[in-house]
């Protein structure tokens, strides 16, 4: 079992849904996918590197014959995979506090979902439907989502300055360098070991 690699936590969850309800979830995700401003809270949370929801119809589990028994299920299932930074408690707390309306729209169609507020009952539900990761790999274990976003801003600024640097007089370069430092100063946080949560 290995839910953590460096600064990233892999969460897996699966919840049952009555088949007629999955169309509502699909419709919600369709709207969310096509109207970007609705994703603002998800983006602003800024500690999720990648996340996905997968609706599996009760008759859509991969069936390869060759001795495999075909599934015979009453429910459709909603799979959720998230790659987030920070601890499990921080993640669920933030989800509950910031995205409660969105989460309710996604999971209220799952059986026995208690709502994302109050958070204690919500955590009990997530703990029940979560299952552990056996192997977890990340190409940049020392970096959070914010580190990655910041690093690309720094890279872009360095590229711009280095392109023009040789053309400047020393005085012009000093002014451009000052603008560069102001531009990147908020994006130089050190990557490395994650702090231990108490």
């Amino acid at each position: 079992m290995s839910n953590i690699n460096g600064k990233v936590y892999a969460m897996n969850a699966i919840t049952p849904m009555k088949p007629w309800k999955t169309w509502i979830v699909r419709a919600f995700f369709f709207v969310l996918g096509h109207i970007k401003p609705l994703q603002k809270d998800l983006v602003d949370l800024s500690f999720i590197q990648f996340a996905r929801w997968v609706v599996v119809k009760r008759n859509s589990f991969p069936y390869l014959k060759k001795g495999q028994m075909q599934e015979d299920l009453k429910y459709d299932y909603l799979l959720f995979f998230s790659n987030f930074n920070g601890t499990w408690n921080q993640y669920i707390d933030a989800f509950s506090a910031v995205l409660s309306n969105g989460l309710n729209l996604i999971w209220r169609w799952s059986e026995k979902f208690p709502g994302s507020v109050p958070v204690t009952i919500f955590k009990e539900y997530i703990a029940r439907v979560q299952f552990d990761t056996d192997y977890y790999y990340t190409a940049y274990p020392h970096a959070t989502a914010n580190d990655v976003k910041s690093a690309h801003i720094v890279q872009s600024s360095v590229d711009s300055l280095s392109l023009a640097a040789a053309q400047y007089t020393p005085e012009q370069f000093a002014a451009a360098y000052l603008r560069f430092v102001i531009q990147v100063q908020c994006h130089l946080g050190e990557t490395g070991e994650a702090p231990i949560a108490g």
């Binding site: 995700f29 439907v129 990761t133 192997y135 977890y136 690093a151 020393p170």
Partner: protein, 210 residues
């Protein structure tokens, strides 16, 4: 296309695991044992396959019963979940997997129903796609950068912080000369190996209170 977000592809595969009572330990336990001994750092198989941002392998034993009044039901197969966030085109990625880490793929997926082996690349790609599930909604915080670009950017970020700290109060001409040298040096540096820049952490379980 719901599997894609910008230039990043969200791959979700569920491969049914062979259920054979005569095999001890069972196939799912053999997968778990193999994965428990597999490196997740720069010598990870996924670090050898170009374009993997994050990937996980999970043995899903069953669906979860959430309590009455919902119905209790069970899967007839256990499934190996392969979830990956990768650069670009799926066919190319799967072909690269088969070419670069065939031994690891075979050691894991040989416990799954109908697995043809990685040696036959096209059969491997077809098998993986037969087990693929379409993503309903896919979120990526950064969706327009490759793994290589991100590793280079993180390297640059760290170097720039050091450069700025060590060049405070330097006169303009020296600053310009040294920055040009610094930028050229940075460009010439090799890209860090995927999975190589993280600290070693002894705790990896990630319990609910961590």
């Amino acid at each position: 296309m719901p599997n894609e977000n910008g230039s990043v592809y969200g791959l979700t595969i569920l491969s049914p695991i062979i259920d054979d009572e005569k095999v001890t330990p069972s196939h799912d336990l053999q997968i778990r044992d193999y994965l428990a001994h597999l490196s997740a750092r720069e010598d990870s198989p996924f670090a050898q396959t170009q374009g993997t941002h994050l990937a996980r392998l999970v043995v899903m034993d069953d669906v979860i019963y959430v309590g009455a009044p919902s119905c209790e039901e069970h899967l007839k197969s256990k499934y190996l979940i392969f979830e990956a966030n990768l650069d670009g085109d799926l066919d190319t990625y799967l072909s690269n997997l088969a070419t670069s880490i065939p031994h690891h793929l075979d050691e894991v997926w040989k416990h799954c129903v109908g697995y043809p082996g990685a040696a036959n690349r096209q059969a491997f790609v077809d098998y993986m796609k037969a087990c693929q599930l379409d993503t309903t909604f896919y979120f990526a915080a950064v969706n327009d950068k490759t793994v290589t670009q991100t590793l280079r950017a993180l390297q640059t970020q760290s170097a720039v912080a050091d450069f700025i700290a060590s060049h405070q109060g330097v006169d303009s001409a020296t600053l310009q000369r040294e920055f040009i040298h610094f930028a050229a040096h940075l460009k010439a540096l090799p890209t860090p190996k995927p999975g190589s820049m993280g600290p070693h952490r002894s705790i990896q379980t990630g319990g609910h209170n961590e």
